[in-house]
């Protein structure tokens, strides 16, 4: 069968470099441990999670009301509010604003939403220079790659890779690997871009309905610098980013970075409520599949996500396959439950890229039942015929055998008989038996348990 590569194919490629896989796994595990330490040191952490979960559930249950409230407050504050049904409309709106400002240079600070909408290529195609100002984002922009993580977009790269990229694009010394020096080079390069930019685009971590303000959390201060310098600020937000009140925000700022990196709070938590005199503030509210997901009762909770990345850091599969193996803007467990909503066929393998170990659910600061949703997406995909035909038919057959004890007992003895007498080379041939690529099959016993039991108690029915 010639099929498009799926998650398993892409991971297999990633895993070929054993050492790099080890490094990737350990790097992310280190972040997971930092998260653990921050969580252990916060005795009320589980209460906070519960609170955050309830606030998000509540907000999603009345999302339309809160969006209207937000819009009314924002308009009253002198903010321009735009609504985009999909990525295309979002990109068109942003380009229009840039054109109206007669701008050709834009600085962007990290935003997964603009990645999701593929804004950069759109702006570039229309003659607008766009520079990502977040260090990690800038590195992957120079390399023309997609982010591999929602918080740490360049986590798949080693410092040697970054040195190589900067040597090629920023003219640093060849072989430079000192993080301090590399960061300094990026800083110098970006400073000029900041000063020249006419429009600043940012993402939005939270939007507060009662005040009409948007909140941006960063560690590098790049968003603030860009927004402070540019005449026009465009904040792009998914429509699920709302919280009702300013006081609710406090719950999330306590959870976000503890979960993400183990810090108590981001270095910068900036609130944007109204434009400065002579400046413009635009907020673009984007749907792009979100209301469809909201309409799926089993999956709507996925919209509670605050993009902390904890589920990626803890996922034993993500750590060993890398973010790009998911081939979706949001990788990892949360990406695997968001992506089928966007394109079920293309992303059909993602809900299967999990052992359902449940660690993602247990770290999620807003208590999304991620592993349950993975299981449920599998059922949806199965019912829609989006699983490999071989699997579908073997499962139907298995079901018939397992519902009939006589067939089952006979089938088992055939299997054991087969394993005992078929030569090892054949029973372990990789083409026929993926189990045996890395593992031995169980040594087949003489007798099944049921046969033993029958011998023990010959007169029992």
């Amino acid at each position: 069968m010639s099929q498009a590569p799926n998650h398993a194919d892409r991971s297999e490629r990633f895993l070929l470099d054993e050492e790099r896989t080890t490094w990737h796994d350990e790097t992310l595990w280190f972040i997971r441990q930092k998260r653990d330490r921050a969580v252990y040191a916060t005795p009320e952490f589980q209460e906070l999670r519960e609170l955050a979960s309830q606030i998000k559930d509540h907000t999603l249950s009345r999302l339309a009301e809160y969006l209207e409230q937000f819009e009314a407050r924002a308009l009253a504050n002198g903010v321009h509010v735009h609504w985009a049904a999909d990525a295309e409309e979002h990109n068109r709106i942003v380009l229009d604003i840039v054109r109206q400002a007669r701008a050709t240079r834009v600085v962007k600070s990290k935003s997964m939403l603009t990645e999701e909408c593929h804004l950069n290529p759109h702006l570039l195609a229309h003659g607008v220079e766009v520079i990502d100002s977040d260090l990690g984002e800038r590195i992957i922009q120079l390399r023309d790659e997609a982010p591999s993580h929602v918080v740490l977009p360049a986590i798949h790269l080693k410092k040697e890779d970054v040195g190589e990229t900067f040597w090629q694009h920023l003219g640093t010394e060849k072989g430079l690997t000192d993080p301090q020096q590399l960061t300094e080079a990026a800083r110098q390069h970006l400073r000029a871009k900041f000063l020249a930019a006419e429009v600043a685009i940012s993402g939005v971590n939270f939007a507060v309905a009662e005040t009409g303000s948007v909140v941006v959390c960063t560690n590098e201060g790049n968003a603030d610098l860009a927004i402070g310098l540019a005449r026009v600020h465009i904040a792009c937000m998914g429509m699920e980013k709302l919280v009702p009140r300013l006081s609710d925000l406090a719950v999330f700022t306590r959870l976000l970075t503890r979960s993400a990196t183990g810090q108590p709070i981001t270095t910068y938590t900036s609130h944007f409520t109204r434009p400065l005199p002579g400046r413009e503030l635009h907020v673009v509210i984007v749907d792009n599949g979100r209301s469809q997901q909201l309409g799926r009762p089993d999956f709507r909770a996925s919209l509670k996500c605050i993009r902390c990345g904890a589920c990626m850091n803890t996922c034993p599969v993500y750590r060993r396959s890398g973010g790009h193996s998911y081939d979706f803007t949001i990788p990892g467990p949360i990406g695997a439950i968001l992506s089928p909503n966007i394109d079920m066929r293309k992303h059909a393998s993602l809900p299967f890229a999990s052992t359902l170990c449940g660690s993602c659910t247990d770290v999620c600061p807003v208590k999304i039942d991620i592993h349950t949703q993975l299981y449920k997406w599998r059922q949806v995909l199965g019912a829609a015929g989006e699983i490999p035909a071989s699997k579908k038919w073997s499962m139907k057959l298995l079901s018939r055998v397992l519902a009939r004890p006589g067939l089952f007992a006979a089938g088992g003895s055939f299997a054991r008989f087969g394993l005992r007498f078929v030569p090892h080379a054949l029973s372990h041939a990789p083409g026929y038996n993926p189990w045996a690529i890395a593992r031995e099959l169980p040594a087949p016993p003489q007798q099944s348990f049921r046969a033993w039991y029958a011998q023990q108690r010959p007169n029992q029915a």
Partner: protein, 246 residues
């Protein structure tokens, strides 16, 4: 008390000694468990592959097999979890509801139902405990590192109570082994890598006997141990306790 032994399909066929040890251990604790021989499987392989609907006849068969027992005891947390958690898609008749709550994992049965918190005996070996995710996070048999730094759990306590047994302290106490049912073939490369990493942690920290309460994880790990010829035996905890208890 009428107790049935639920022997998952792969245990029946490949690890009869685990079912035998479970049966004998229960007998030594005063419980004569029956083995209803029309039993087959819990349906998990189908459901995890996205074919939950196809599994319904298997669920019904499971309920019919075990409905007359007070407890259904199985030496595999994952299968038990499946019955308790995922038999929610068939009609919730009294029989279905009963079987779902009556199905318990072997060591939960011993500690929670029988109330036995210590098993006598000696096992002077360096033992590494593998926590099954479905047992730990699904059935709440052990503390989770996502929540607390304290490493505790029912099976861990029982093992620690055996004379001479030294428990391995792992670098990562509760990382998944990568079995995941059909995941082990559909994502064969990652599955193997996860298992190898799990075993490396045990080797690094001195495990000589690898054990756990879930034979499915152990089957996968044993396959890797044998391929790599690691100096380690793999035993289900029922085998250890049954052997230690004269």
């Amino acid at each position: 008390m009428k107790v049935a032994l639920f022997v998952p399909c792969y245990v029946d066929q490949f690890y009869p000694q685990v079912a035998i040890a479970s049966l004998q251990l229960l007998a030594k604790l005063g419980v004569a468990a029956a083995f209803p021989k029309q039993q087959t499987c819990c349906g998990q392989p189908m459901a995890n592959s996205g074919c939950e609907q196809d599994a319904k006849p298997v669920y019904h068969h499971f309920v019919d097999t075990f409905r007359d027992y007070d407890y259904v005891v199985g030496p595999a947390g994952s299968c038990v979890y499946h019955v308790r958690q995922h038999f929610d898609i068939i009609d919730q008749t009294p029989a279905v509801q009963h079987v779902r709550t009556a199905t318990v994992e072997l060591f939960d049965f011993i500690t929670q139902v029988l109330g036995i918190t210590e098993l006598p005996g000696a096992y002077p070996h360096r033992v590494g405990l593998h926590l099954s995710c479905h047992g730990q996070r699904g059935l709440h048999q052990a503390n989770e590192s996502e929540m607390t730094p304290v490493r505790d759990g029912r099976l861990r306590r029982l093992l620690a109570g055996l004379e001479g047994l030294a428990l391995t302290e792992l670098d990562r106490n509760d990382e998944c082994c990568g079995f995941g049912g059909t995941f082990c073939v559909s994502e064969a490369a990652i599955s193997a890598r996860m298992g190898q990493d799990r075993l490396a942690d045990h080797v690094r920290n001195g495990t000589r006997v690898l054990t756990g309460g879930d034979m499915s994880c152990l089957m996968h790990l044993e396959g890797l141990v044998r391929r790599r010829q690691l100096p380690m035996r793999v035993l289900h905890a029922a085998e250890i306790f049954n052997g230690a208890l004269a």
